[in-house]
């Protein structure tokens, strides 16, 4: 009979209408600013620089090797090396970047810089509410805005942070082992150097 | 100047305008509009005389106007159908050029 299908269709929409007030899984919309969906594990938005300890200047891991600058497809990283050096986490004297800019309006969050970085110093952040009034300067982040502490990194990407810390610990252990070996070699060499000239009396203790 | 005379004057003017339009204008549809106006002027007279006439309960004026409206509708329909048919044949609705008598 004419009109049966119309009534069936109306029944479906009516059920939708009343169930949306009753059952919870029908209405899946999230009221964005107030409620937020939990972020997925490997969320990545824009890169940031990691520093150890609490002082961004001293603890910055980046050694301005400019590999990420060369590898970045849209060329949105700009690094200026420093003249002097500062010790890095292994105690070696390394150059550090005086200026490390990333143009977030150009960056396409491909995280190639994270992959190529040999020093675990650049990672992907999960913060996306970066809207600014100024389209050019506002999204050009300098070193100060990019640097975040390692603890922040643990909080944002716990799993990757753990791996990165493990790598760094291993590096440090290897460096210390090498340093210890070098120290022993130096000690032996010093010992060897001392044995041919024993008569030199040690300096007078003040 | 009784209201009846006022109505008669208005309908006289409408009739004159309708007649002028029907006679002077070149376009076929405007002639039809002129005829409609003339019919309406006549209806206005009927209603005026019915309203101010001796015994309005006879309702002859009103019913005459109703029938004339029905006929005016039929006439407009047929007239416009003719105009469209002429336009389709001669590609013009200018009355001066529609002079041939055969089909």
């Amino acid at each position: 009979m004419l009109g049966e299908q119309i009534i069936k269709g109306m029944a479906v929409t009516a059920r939708n209408f009343f169930e949306s007030y009753v059952s919870k899984d029908r209405l899946t919309t999230v009221q964005y600013p107030e409620e937020r969906l939990p972020q997925k594990g490997n969320t990545r938005q824009f890169p940031f620089l990691v520093y150890d300890g609490d002082d961004a200047e001293k603890g910055l891991r980046c050694v301005a090797c400019q590999i990420c600058e060369k590898e970045c497809p849209p060329k949105c990283i700009y690094i200026v090396k420093s003249k002097d050096k500062k010790p890095d986490y292994k105690g070696q004297m390394q150059v550090y970047p005086v200026r490390f800019d990333i143009d977030l309006s150009v960056c396409m969050s491909c995280s190639i810089c994270v992959e190529v970085c040999p020093f675990e110093s650049i990672k992907m952040n999960t913060e996306f509410e970066l809207s600014t009034a100024d389209r050019f300067g506002g999204l050009l982040f300098g070193k100060d805005k990019l640097a975040k502490s390692n603890s922040y990194y643990q909080k944002v990407h716990p799993k990757d942070a753990a791996e990165s810390d493990a790598v760094i610990a291993a590096e440090k252990a290897k460096a210390e082992a090498k340093a210890k070996a070098a120290a022993e070699a130096k000690a032996k060499a010093a010992a060897a150097a001392v044995s041919p000239a024993p008569p030199v009396t040690p300096a007078q203790p003040l | 100047m009784t209201p009846l005379q006022a109505c008669l004057l208005v309908s006289a003017f409408l009739f004159a305008v309708g007649f002028a339009g029907a006679v002077t204008r070149r376009h076929a549809i405007l002639v039809l509009i002129g005829i409609e106006l003339m019919l309406n002027a006549a209806n206005l007279n009927f209603i005026a005389f019915w309203r101010f006439g001796p015994h309005p309960e006879a309702l002859t004026g009103i019913l005459f106007v109703l029938f004339s409206m029905a006929l005016a509708g039929a006439e407009a329909a047929v007239g416009l159908a003719l105009v469209i048919a002429i336009y389709r044949h001669k590609k013009t609705s200018n009355l001066d050029e529609v002079k041939e008598l055969q089909g």
């Binding site: 009979m1 004419l2 109306m10 949306s20 029908r26 209405l27 | 389709r88």
Partner: protein, 398 residues
């Protein structure tokens, strides 16, 4: 006490009018009635636009607007303040007039659209003796004024000098004309049974109760068929889905009001909704007993409450249908009007005649119900079976 509550508006009107000196009284009372209508129904229009957006949202499993409550404050009112920013946006938008448009007619079209729609409210009975002007031929007045809207649609479509708006206007006029006939014929059945064109008499005829149920026309077989026909025709008359072809966004942008923006578009929008309220208001008066209460023990509720609650439920069904049914193609739309609605309306008049002259109580129920069912099924089968898709034929405009 109930009667005072029921007549509260009427007494307020008389009290206010009594301040005016004697010769100006009728003018003052009509001015007050006009201001009442001009206040209530545009406010009703703004609320209904929010109900519509929230209702359609809920049907599609999402929230409707729920952010704007009282402007400039934090109160949300779950979205019921949305019409203020909407209205403001509509008013402050730039009013673009196409260069090739016919300025005068382009400007006049929304005005000519709004005048008949507002005039139609003069005849609707909102409550017990709350009709603004009670003409003896009130129903004819309503349909005469309703017919005058087509000229405004044509003016809008033609004056914007734009192919789509002209096409939209032609479709809208063709649709309005072909659905006006079933609309009027379904109202004729009510006039036949009640015997008068006066809307007050039509309501008085529906105001009696047997076993507590009101004598609404919709409870009689011919009345139900008439109401269904009237409802479908009023859907088409106010260009609502599934007959909203003239303003089908997907096909011809926005039909006849493509070239309108800002305040003129708001007027068209207002005109469409006010037309919808007027036609459903008349539908309520004709078939759903106007301001009478459905059951005898509820008559203490004031009459205008009944009218407006019925109006809201009818508008909800409009919204419900808009959220459900897809849009009809132009030939299906015309086919449905001329091959289904018109014959059914004519048969309905026959059935109403039989109903009127068979005065044996239960016999006429059976006869009329079977006739209604038979006609519906027979015409419905006729409509459903001829869906043979012939080769597509084209007619070129020469």
């Amino acid at each position: 006490m109930f009667n005072t509550l029921d007549q509260i508006f009427v007494n307020a009107l008389h009290w206010l009018v009594s301040f005016v000196p004697e010769p100006w009284r009728p003018l003052a009372s009509s001015m007050l009635c006009i201001s009442f209508i001009l206040m209530v129904f545009p406010a009703f229009f703004s609320i209904i636009t929010i109900f519509e957006r929230k209702g359609i949202g809920r049907i599609q499993n999402r929230y409707g607007p729920n952010r704007v409550g009282i402007p400039f404050t934090k109160i949300r009112l779950c979205g019921f303040g949305q019409f203020v920013p909407d209205g403001l946006k509509m008013l402050t938008k730039e009013d673009i007039v196409p260069r090739a448009a016919d300025k005068l007619i382009h400007f006049l079209a929304p005005v000519v659209m709004l005048i008949p729609v507002l005039l139609a409210y003069a005849v609707l009975p909102f409550g017990r003796n709350m009709t603004m002007t009670d003409y003896d031929a009130g129903l004819l007045f309503f349909f005469a004024i309703g017919g005058a809207v087509e000229i405004a649609v044509f003016m809008a479509g033609w004056s914007s000098r734009n192919k789509y708006s002209l096409l939209g206007a032609m479709r809208a006029i063709a649709q309005m004309i072909s659905y006006e006939i079933p609309l009027i014929l379904s109202a004729v059945t009510v006039v036949m049974v009640v015997g008068s064109l006066k809307l007050e008499d039509i309501i008085a005829a529906q105001n009696q109760y047997t076993y507590g149920i009101a004598h609404w026309h919709v409870f009689t077989p011919w009345g139900l068929l008439g109401f269904v026909l009237y409802f479908i025709a009023s859907l088409a008359e106010s260009n609502r889905t599934p007959f909203d072809l003239p303003e089908a966004e997907s096909e011809i942008i926005a039909g006849y009001f493509t070239e309108y923006s800002g305040f003129k578009f708001a007027l068209f929008f207002l005109g469409e909704y006010l037309g919808m309220f007027a036609i459903s208001g008349l539908g309520i008066t004709l078939f759903l007993g106007g301001w009478t209460s459905p059951v005898s023990f509820l008559t203490w509720i004031p009459s205008y409450i009944w009218f407006f609650s019925k109006l809201i439920t009818l508008i909800f069904v409009f919204i419900w249908i808009r959220a459900t049914l897809p849009r009809l193609r132009m030939d299906q739309l015309m086919n449905f009007a001329w091959k289904f609605m018109l014959p059914l309306a004519l048969i309905n008049i026959l059935i109403a005649g039989i109903w009127h002259f068979m005065n044996v109580e239960w016999q006429r129920w059976i006869v009329c119900s079977t006739l209604v069912l038979a006609a519906y099924v027979w015409l419905g089968r006729g409509l459903m079976h001829q869906q043979k898709l012939g080769k597509r034929t084209y007619r070129y405009a020469e």
